[in-house]
Symmetry: C2
Subunit: 378 residues, 2 copies
């Protein structure tokens, strides 16, 4: 295995693949990055067994030579040190030689590193997926769907499927649902697919999705999503992302979403977010992080919180209010997460009663929804 | 106690004072910030018993009213939450009322906070220093002296005076010395003072100085330094900084600094720093973080490191070399710290032998010096 490669192209690819590389050493080979070179270019693969990222560096890009291959081959290099070295190499180009015992020499300007490589045959194969269950969507739209639901998954490993986000597809509409049973977030979007494709119970781990959202930040254009029984693959330009799926049946959440309300509030998302954010400075020192919201018919929302040893806060937000006056208490963090996820100037909140879940939505759209279960207070 | 104050002025002052506020609750009152108002303005004080910071906000600045005082008084507010609240208040102005039981009401636009305050009489008094031992210097020069020596103090509390930086003053020259007995850094500068003032054994805790260096970053112009038997005070515009001194006699370090050398190396600071930085990627995985440096008469410095499980690195830096060829091994981190502290394009290194300390200096000045004790290798 012998080749030369542009350092900047290598640095970028290594930084993407590193996101998947295992920090734990339970499977030692997975702390490495697999590097393969042939006539078409270079492949880098990182994995932590839950998720896998493969990045391609083509031999040529825009008629410029990126990889100059002399002898094909493959090697696994220790992930952390390899990515630190690549980032700090002095030259424009890296010369790369691997001997038959996987000893790897990297030369760049006045620096020369020798690293102990591992046998690439020991590295797990990429999952093979049939491409019959597939749809396409813009990369930034997929990122929004993840960002606007992923925070609501349960962080307790014991909660099984609730640590993941449910993906459903019906008649071209993709729906993401996440809940930890105290709150729920749902987001929908149209995607490009064959009309017949229906997906019912695909649950993707929240942790995988949060890595995917980071990677999608660097991507323009569209991505393909391919599903199998136990894997999901997202294919972007020069990048493949795989994640295992969670086993088990996701609960039916449609019945918990109220269809009407007793009181409807429409307010500025920003004003309400800032007020709740300040109130949370007090509530976080109390039990359960509770703040209380009182709706006044004349168009005021009063936000109140008190913590015994610290003090109290009273905030006021003007709003358009229809329906009954009421007071309701809830977890400040859940409210902050939901308000931050709404990318609309105005939000609508639909209250159904002081002890029943309420719904937060953008005021001008019905493709996103956040539900919060109130807290019983004295 | 009742007044109104510009929120931006308050935010800035609170952020400075917060650097001193205790995170530990061993002395509960010190987790608070003391606030005092009178006709001249507002005083904020934070302390963790080792160091104390007091910031003044004058009633008027450039003919603009900053503080509008209605009733003088003083209160201690919980530090962390108070500074979070101030940063997030919505209005331009903060209205402030404290009742006789220290209950404090802060109002700003639509937000109102009530905080449980504490009796300001319980808060420790500021140290009183006689101003007979005093000198003056530019704030940024004092910051440089701290930054170029402070990293060399011992971080082990058991090392007593070695956890501090020695300040000496003689004939108008201020000298800072820090050592953890494996390396030493010394920096000198001219200051403004009466010719007779001599300071011999003032040792300021490294932690206090690192906070002082941060604060000095916001200061223009000159600072006054006042010394007593057990306290140091630094006075800048609208700011007082106090630190206790360390007890004990600092060792005489002059005799460990070699006066000549066997081999002199002059090299580019940046090239050498980058080479050592890369070599450290390998050495940090080995024992003692050792790298080896070989000086070649023809003008090359070879830098080498190897770690059994990882691999090895070989770097080369061109240099002007006078004297014997030799090889010497040392801790990579000590070298990096010293090279980063030298603010000169070229550095001079003076080697006295493979097992005796060597000296790193800027090539064009003799006001700074870093000494490193080599490591014996097989």
């Amino acid at each position: 295995m012998k080749f030369r490669i542009s350092r900047s192209a290598l640095t970028e690819a290594v930084s993407q693949v590193s996101k998947a590389v295992s920090q734990k050493t339970t499977v030692p080979i997975l702390t490495g990055i697999k590097v393969t070179v042939d006539e078409d270019g270079l492949w880098l693969t990182g994995s932590n067994s839950d998720l896998t990222i493969q990045v391609t560096i083509p031999s040529k890009q825009d008629d410029k030579e990126i990889v100059n291959m002399e002898r094909i081959g493959s090697v696994v290099l220790p992930g952390r040190i390899f990515s630190d070295i690549v980032r700090k190499l002095p030259g424009e180009e890296v010369e790369w030689v691997v001997d038959e015992r996987w000893k790897t020499t990297l030369r760049s300007a006045q620096a020369q590193f020798e690293l102990k490589g591992l046998d690439p045959e020991e590295y797990p194969q990429l999952p093979q997926l049939r491409e019959d269950q597939m749809f396409s969507m813009p990369a930034d739209l997929l990122q929004s769907l993840i960002r606007q639901t992923g925070f609501a998954v349960s962080t307790s490993e014991a909660r099984g499927v609730l640590t993941g986000v449910l993906w459903q597809l019906q008649e071209g509409t993709l729906t993401f649902v996440a809940t930890d049973s105290h709150r729920l977030s749902r987001r929908q979007a149209e995607v490009e697919t064959s009309a017949e494709l229906t997906i019912q119970n695909v649950v993707v781990p929240g942790k995988s999705l949060s890595e995917l959202a980071k990677i999608l930040g660097d991507q323009n254009g569209w991505v393909d999503v391919v599903l199998s029984d136990n894997q999901i693959m997202v294919r972007a330009d020069q990048l493949l992302f795989f994640s295992r799926l969670l086993e088990g049946t996701y609960p039916d959440t449609n019945r918990v979403i109220p269809q009407g309300g007793k009181t409807e509030v429409i307010a500025s998302s920003k004003e309400l977010l800032q007020s709740v954010d300040r109130a949370a400075l007090i509530s976080r020192d109390g039990r359960d992080n509770v703040i209380k919201c009182t709706l006044k018919e004349e168009g005021r929302v009063l936000i109140h919180s008190a913590a015994q040893d610290v003090g109290s806060v009273q905030e006021e937000v003007t709003a358009r209010i229809k329906g009954e006056e009421m007071s309701i208490s809830f977890n400040a963090q859940y409210m902050l997460d939901a308000l931050r996820a709404v990318d609309s100037d105005e939000i609508q909140i639909l209250f159904t009663g002081t002890m029943t879940p309420f719904v937060i939505q953008p005021a001008d759209r019905d493709n996103a929804l956040h539900l919060i279960v109130p807290i019983r207070t004295r």
